[in-house]
Symmetry: D2
C-alpha cells in the first residue's frame, strides 16, 4: 500500500516543512520538497501526491500571491486544513565563527526586512547579501562558504539544524509575534466535516456590468452575519485595475447561513471559485447571531413552504 | 348551491361598491354592504361571505388605516386581488334644484377636501356641512331633505344614480387623477397563481433588540432586486414610537427571489404577517434583473448542492 | 400690547386644548379654537396668531394625515415644541342618567374603536351612534339631548367638565397607555436653541430618476449614527404610488451630524422640507456615538483644511 | 543652483528607470538608482533627493507590497503623479549567441512567471536560473558570463541596450497587455492642482471596536458616488488577521465630494493616512453624478447655513 504523500514548498529546512510537521506530527507520510508553490500544486493536481502544504498569509508580509494565484486558476483544488507557524529567525554560522567575525549576512530579502532592527543594533557595520531563500542562505554557507561573501545566515531554526550550522543568536525578528499561515490543499474529492469552528475560502470575480462592485459582494456576508477574516484583491491579469477578491470567512459550506451567502454570491458574481471549508487553526468559538443559526434558516424554509402550499388548493 | 358572497364597505353607492362591480362585472355574486371595514372583514372571518372588498390606499389621502390595521391583526386573511378605481365626484341635488339655489353642501370631510377648489370658484358663498359618508350625504338628501341644512351633496356618481338625485356638475375633484386602490380579501385557503405581474403584501414587525431597524429590513428587498410599491408605518399600539411596516412589493411568493426575501425577513423580524400575492391591477411588466430570475436562483441552488455533496465522500 | 395668541384644533374640550394648557400652563395667551388643522395653520400663516397646536401622531391611530399634509405644503412653518398627552376617555351623561339607562352611546369613530372592549363588557346591548368629534358628542348631549338618539357620550375628561356632564366611568380606553403627540407650530422666524435632547422633523421627496429610493435616504441617517423616531409615507398626490416621507429623528439642525445628514439629503432628494428642530418631550438622553459628536466632526474639518492647505504652496 | 534629483528603484536598466524617463522626458534631473524601494524613499525623506519613482501596482502581479508598506509608515510622503509603463520582455544574450545555443535562461522569478509560455514553446529544454532582478541577470551576463550557468537573460528592453546585449526575441511576455503603474513620490510640501481627472490614495485603519468593518468604510465612498480604482489589504503587522486598506479612488482632495468622504473616514477610522491627490495617468474622464458635483455640495452648505441662521433671531 502506498504511503500518503505531501508536497511542500521546499527546500528542506523551511518554515513550510515545519508547518507540515506540525500538521502531521506522526510523520507517517512521504514528504516531497518543491521549488515553488506552483510546482507543489502541480504535483497534487497530477496525482503524484495526496496533499500539498503551502504558505498563504503572513502577519507581516500579507497574502502570498503565488499561492493565491495558483489556487485561483487551473484545475480545482480545495483547502482542507490550516496551520499557524510562529516565525522565529536565528542567525547562524559555520561552527567556530563568532558574532564579531561577521562582516556580511546572507538571507532572503523578506527575512532581512524582519530582522533589520536586530542587525542595526548588534552588527551595525555588517553588509546585507541577498539570497534566493533563507534555507539556501544556510545551505550554501554550509556547503561552499568561500564563494559567498557572507559569514552568517538568517534562517529558520529548522534550517540551521538541518545544515549543521551553529546558532549565534535566537529569535532575532523585530516582530516577535510574526506568524505565517499555511494551508493543506487537496484535490476536491473530499471535504472536512463541519466542526462549528470552521473557515471557508473563496475567490470572487465581479461582473463588469454592475455598479456597486465590492460593496455589493460584502453585503452578502453582512446581511447574514458572517465575519470575514481575510480579504485580498488580486489582479485578474486581464487589464490594469481588474481585480478579483480572495476571501476567508467564518463558517462551513454545510452551514445554512454560509450556503445562503454562497448561493447569492454565485448569482451576483461573474464567477465564484470555492476553495474549501476546513477547521480554523485558532479553534476559537464563532459567535453566531440567533437569527442566522441553522435552525433559524430551516424554520424560515418550513414557514415559506407552508405559505407556498396554499397555492395547491 | 350557495351563491358566492362579497362583503364590502357600504353603504350602497360608495366607491367600494363600484370597485366590487369592476372586479366582478358579471354580478353573479351576492353583495353585502357593511358599516365599517372591520365589519366587512368579520363577516369574512366568520365564514358568512366568501370575500370582502375594502379600500387600502388613496392617491390623495394615503393608506387606509382601518384596513391596514384590520388585516394586520385577528385571524389571518389574504389579499387575492386589487382594483384601481378613479375617484370622480359629482355634486347632485333633488330634481329641480339649480346650482344657484345651493347655499350649503353636505359631504364627508375627505371628499370636501378634494373638491374645495371647485367649490371656492363655483359656489364661493356655500357653507360646508360635514356628513358621516358621501353616500349618506346623498341618501339623506333623497330621503329627508328638510332636516339637513344643505341642498346639494358631493358623492360618487354611483350614489347619485342609486338615490335618484340629479347631477348638477360632473367630475368636480381638484385632482382629476385621484384614484383609490381596493383589495379583494379572502380567507387563506387559496392563493392566485403567479402571472409574472404580481404584487405581494406583508406586515413587518421589527425586533426591538436590533440596531439598524428599518434599513436592515429594506436591504432584504434591495439585495434581491425587489421593488417596493408601498410602505406605510403603523403603530403597533404598544407605545408611542413603536411601529410596524405595511409593505407592498413586486413579485409573487412562488417567485424564487420573493421566497428568499421572505425567508430572510422571517429570520430578521420579530414577526412577519403574510397578506397575500395577487395579480397587479396595473398589468405593467415587472423588470427582473438577470441575476434574480427564478433560473438564477435555481442554478445557484444546484451549484451549492454539488459543493456540499463532496462532504459525503 | 397684544397678548400671545394660540390657534388650536377645537372645539373647546378636546385633547388638543389639553395639550395647549400642558404646553403653556400659565395660560397667559389667547386661545383660538379652529374647526380643522388646516384652519389653525392658516391663522398662523396669515399672522393672526403666533403659534398653533395640532396633533401629529397617536400611539394607536398613527400619524395624523391632515397635520402632516398641511405642514408639508403651503407657506413654510416650523415645529418649535412638542407635548405628549395621555389619551383617557370618560363616558358621561346628563346629570341623573345612570349607566343602566344607556341604550346608545355617541362618539367619534376613532374614540369608539378605543373603548369598544369596555363597551362590549359593560354595556353589551348599547348601540353605537357616530358623531363628528368626541367634543361635539358631549356638547350636543348637553345642549339638545332629545334629537340625538343616544344618552351617553365618550369624550375627553376636559369635555365632560366643559359641558357640565356627569362622568359615569373614568379611563375606559382599552389601551390604557394610549398617548397623542401634539406639536407647537410657528412661522419660521425663530428656532429653539439646542438642548442636547432635541428632535428634528423633515419631509423628503425622492428623485424619480434614482434607483435605491428610500434605502438611499435612510442610509444618510445611518452612516451618521442618527436615530429615526417616526417615519410616515404620505402620497405626493401626483399619482398612485408616488410618496414622500415625513420623518422625525434625534438631534438638532445646529448639531454637526444633523447638519451633515441634512446637506446630503438636500443633494440626494428632489426636495427636502425642513420642519424644525425642537426639544424632545420625553427629555430622554440621546446616545451619540463618539465618532459622531460635534467635536469629531469639527476635528475632521480642521484635518481636511490642513490637507488642503498644501495646495497653496 | 542644484538640479532636481530623482531617486528610483534601480539598478539602471529597470522598468522603473523607464517610468522615470517617461515622466520627465527632458531628463533635466539627476537620477539616483537605489537598491530597494525603502532606500529610495529614505533618500527622499532625508532631503537628498526631491522625488522618488517606485512601482506600486502591476496588472499581473498585483500591488507592490514594499511600496505600499513604505508609504504607509515612517515620515509622511505624498504621491504627486503616476505613470503607466507597458511591461515588455526581451530575451537577450552576448553578441554572437544564437537562440539554439541557449540551454539555460537567467531572470527574476516574477519575470520568469510571465514568459514561461514563450519559453515552453520556443526553448522547451532550457533550464531556469533564478536571479535577484531582471537587470542583474542582464548585467551579470554582460560582465562575467562564465560563472553564471546561463547564456541568455530575460529583461526589459532598456536593460539589454544598457548592458550591450543582443536581443534574440522581442515582446515575449505571455500577457502582452501587462502594465506596471509607477508613482512619483514627494515630501508633503506641495500638492498638484485639481485637473478634473485626478486620483487620490489613502491608507485606512479600522477601529477594532466597530462592527461592520470594511463595509462601513466602503459605504463612505459609495454614498458620495466616488469610484474606487484599487483596494489592497495589507497586514498592520500587529497580529495575524489585522489589516489596513490601501485604496485609490477617483477625485482630488480639493473636490467637495472627496473632502466630505475623507472627513467621514477620518471620524470612522482609527487612522487615515492621506497619500496624495494627483492627475490620473489614463487621462480618462471621470463621471460625476449631478448630485455630487462641487456645486451640489456648495448649494447644500448654503442651504444649511440659511436654516441655521434662524437660530440667531
Amino acid at each position: 500500500m502506498t504511503r500518503y504523500a505531501y508536497a511542500y514548498l521546499g527546500p528542506e529546512g523551511t518554515f513550510t516543512q515545519q508547518a507540515l510537521m506540525q500538521w502531521s506530527p506522526s510523520a507517517g507520510g512521504r514528504q516531497v520538497p518543491c521549488g515553488s508553490v506552483d510546482a507543489a500544486l502541480e504535483l497534487l493536481r497530477s496525482g503524484e501526491v495526496d496533499a500539498a502544504v503551502v504558505p498563504i498569509e503572513n502577519s507581516v508580509e500579507g497574502g502570498v500571491s503565488a499561492t493565491l494565484d495558483a489556487l485561483a486558476s487551473g484545475d480545482p483544488l480545495v483547502v482542507v486544513g490550516e496551520v499557524l507557524v510562529p516565525i522565529t529567525f536565528v542567525v547562524c554560522a559555520r561552527p567556530g565563527t563568532r558574532l564579531q567575525d561577521v562582516s556580511a549576512i546572507g538571507t532572503h530579502s523578506h527575512a532581512w526586512a524582519q530582522v533589520r532592527g536586530w542587525a542595526d543594533q548588534t552588527l551595525p557595520r555588517a553588509v546585507y547579501v541577498p539570497t534566493l531563500s533563507t534555507a539556501s542562505a544556510a545551505k550554501d554557507l554550509a556547503e561552499h562558504p568561500d564563494d559567498l561573501g557572507y559569514q552568517a545566515a538568517v534562517c529558520a531554526p529548522v534550517a540551521a539544524e538541518r545544515f549543521g550550522l551553529e546558532v549565534l543568536a535566537h529569535d532575532i525578528g523585530d516582530m516577535t509575534s510574526a506568524v505565517t499561515r499555511f494551508v493543506i490543499v487537496s484535490r476536491p474529492d473530499w471535504q472536512p466535516s463541519p466542526t462549528g469552528k470552521d473557515k471557508t475560502t473563496v475567490v470572487l470575480y465581479q461582473r463588469t456590468d454592475r455598479a456597486g462592485g465590492l460593496l455589493e459582494l460584502l453585503e452578502q456576508f453582512a446581511v447574514r452575519g458572517i465575519n470575514m477574516t481575510r480579504l485580498e484583491s488580486r489582479p485578474t491579469k486581464d487589464s490594469m485595475g481588474s481585480y478579483c477578491f480572495s476571501i476567508d470567512f467564518e463558517g462551513h459550506v454545510q452551514d445554512e447561513r454560509v450556503g445562503a451567502a454562497l448561493m447569492s454570491l454565485h448569482r451576483v458574481c461573474a464567477d465564484l471559485r470555492f476553495l474549501g471549508s476546513y477547521p480554523a487553526a485558532s479553534g476559537a468559538d464563532i459567535t453566531v447571531d440567533p437569527i442566522t443559526t441553522d435552525e433559524a434558516f430551516l424554520e424560515a424554509r418550513r414557514w415559506l413552504e407552508r405559505l407556498r402550499a396554499l397555492g395547491d388548493g
